[in-house]
Amino acid sequence: MTEKLLTGNQAVAQAVKNSRVGVVSAYPITPSTPVVEEIAGMVESGEMNARLILVESEHSAMSACIGASLGGARAFTATSSHGLAYMHEMLHYAVNARTPVVMAVANRAIGPGWNIWADLSDSMSQRDTGWIQIYCESNQEIYDSIAMAYRVAEHEDVLLPAMVCYDGFVLSHTSMPVKLDDLSEFLDEYEAAWRVDFDNPSTHGNITPPDYFMDLRREVSRSHERALKIMDRVEREFFETFSRKTPLIAEHYRLDDADTAIVAAGAVSSEAKIAVDNLRRNGIKVGLFRIRCFRPFPVRHTIRALDGVEKIYVFDRSVSIGSEGQMFQEVKSAFYGLSSPPEIYGCVVGLGGRDVTSMVFEKTVMGEIEPGWIGEVIV
């Protein structure tokens, strides 16, 4: 096992190579472009044995991945922002088609007001497509998550595509040490559920009438429920294989005796940990519930982790316009109907790359900043 100083994008490329992906298809977009550049270099040098299809759009990139996955190969793509939005139709398609494609999403805002910087609105707004969504805090977590995502996505009880999301630039272009474990012990060869079989042909994805379609969707929904159980298992197996604790559903950080909790995902949650430590030093009983897996949303995990907490501050680096932050909605909804639920506040921070420091979390918990849209960068 080697350890290297890698950007988030490089960590993705290494994970894709070590996951023995067979077909990569992508279209460049900032800030995920370097993922494909790295992979192209490795394919050309022979370091990576894969077919690379450099398509003319993200819509085609996802389509090629779906075709590749149906053909029996492990498939991968990477994108951001407008590219992800352009794929939208095919994101739905990959789910009902049951193609366990894994995609890296370097999170970025959507224009106009062209903006290439970190913002989770791109992937958050795809939350209803049926993709598994995993959010990362560090480059090591990105590397681990790609392999874990294939394990979950390809599981016979799941068979769903998964996106591994990480903040653009903040992680995608920032170098950090990454342990490049040999993933072959952890990840088997891909066994496609549907096969191109000339002796026993079948037609994939033809018209499915009302008599069947709802059942098909019901199965997709059940697969999401099952995915959480599989994730639990994959998390444990990952630890057993590499002796490294990489949470897959959520991380509990100093929550044990907390009366106040911060809920966050992605790179900002790392800043939140600093805030928790500082506040703890001042005797404030605060902890962090870091959401790794946003889809399926871990309702039971959330309730269990935040049991006994009096106040919850949910920080979203995205917003559902006309409503609130998406995580805020989910957390509130998780506590619905419970007796004596905690007070839950929502904060929208860091849109379009506005920097998020630990101070924002501290001051919010201390009551010095009103929850809601928090625009100040507090240094």
């Binding site: 077909v23 894969a50 003319e56 053909g71 037609t203």
Partner: protein
């Protein structure tokens, strides 16, 4: 060729839900006979995605991957790369309508052609969006009625087969449901060529073109005989007219007046004589380009057969 040489095996099974006299299902039957068993069909939204039947049954007896409307070329690219990566030999074939080819699928088609993906792309052109109930496409000819061009389309159609030639791919051919032996021969040939291949088939549609269902073959033949549809092959940079088009170019067959073709179809019944004249002009200009400039010498010099 003798029709008895065409295999008896059926890969498009009877009892499907294609309309009476469907030109597209007629062509698909022949295409699948030419391609044989080791074929995967990629089908974007189109009439074929409907007439192949509903879950849990299918009318197509080779593996089929249905794709979204815009992306059949990309799905096929991924599928081919995937099979190749695993060492599986297969004809990966896109079977798309003119909507999925000329309009919404054009970008992905151009991309796959430029990358010279090893796939055969077949466009069955019924000159409109038949599946959604007869709306104009950019393959709809001038003057034709559709539900979105109620007084006739004001523009001439574009030509994607020509566009494919401009991509410099190894093989481009046009065919017609009126000449299935010619279609069979072209598909057999395309099957043996490596790289991106494009075949476009004119497939008349009785409900859309408003003619009586038993006349599909007659209409498809007349399109060629009147010069509205030109049969050719483009191989390694050389364009060669084939069949009746070639006979016309060689002066061995007289081109029929287009009115004969138009009068058969309700979609043209409203045309004024000026509009018919405009179609004649269009045919003459297009024919000149194909027969005289690009393919004339080859067409005339080569031996004649129909």
């Amino acid at each position: 060729m003798k029709l008895s040489e065409i295999p008896a095996e059926e890969y498009l099974l009877e009892g499907n839900s294609a309309c009476h006299g469907c030109g597209s299902s007629m062509a698909l039957r022949t295409v699948l006979k030419a391609l044989g068993k080791r074929t995967v069909l990629v089908v974007p939204a189109s009439c074929t995605s409907v007439y192949q039947g509903m879950y849990p049954g299918s009318a197509i007896a080779v593996p089929v991957v249905n794709s979204a409307f815009a992306c059949s070329s990309a799905v096929a690219s991924g599928l081919k790369a995937s099979l190749e990566h695993q060492g599986i030999d297969a004809n990966v074939v896109v079977w798309a309508g003119d909507g999925g080819t000329y309009d919404i699928g054009l970008q992905a088609l151009s991309g796959a052609a430029e990358r010279n993906e090893d796939i055969l792309y077949i466009c069955y052109n019924n000159e409109m969006y038949s599946n959604t109930g007869i709306q104009r496409s950019s393959a709809t000819p001038f003057g034709a009625w559709t539900t979105t061009t109620v007084s006739g389309k004001k523009e001439h159609r574009k030509d994607v087969a020509e566009l494919m030639m401009a991509h410099g791919i190894p093989y481009v051919a046009t065919a017609s449901a009126g000449y299935l032996d010619d279609l069979y021969r072209k598909v057999r040939k395309a099957k043996r060529i490596e790289g991106f291949r494009y075949i476009e088939i004119l497939t008349p549609c009785p409900p859309g073109w408003r003619y009586s269902m038993e006349r599909t073959v007659e209409v498809a033949k007349l399109a060629v005989e009147t010069g509205m549809w030109i049969l050719y092959e483009y191989e390694h940079g050389v364009l060669r007219l084939t069949g009746v088009s070639r006979a016309i170019a060689a002066g061995k067959k007289k081109m029929k007046d287009v009115q004969e073709y138009l009068l058969l179809q309700g979609r043209f019944s409203h045309l004024s004589s000026a509009e018919i004249q405009e179609i004649r002009k269009y045919i003459a200009e297009r024919w000149k380009k194909f027969a005289d400039v690009r393919g004339g010498e080859h067409a005339v010099a080569a031996e004649f057969f129909v």
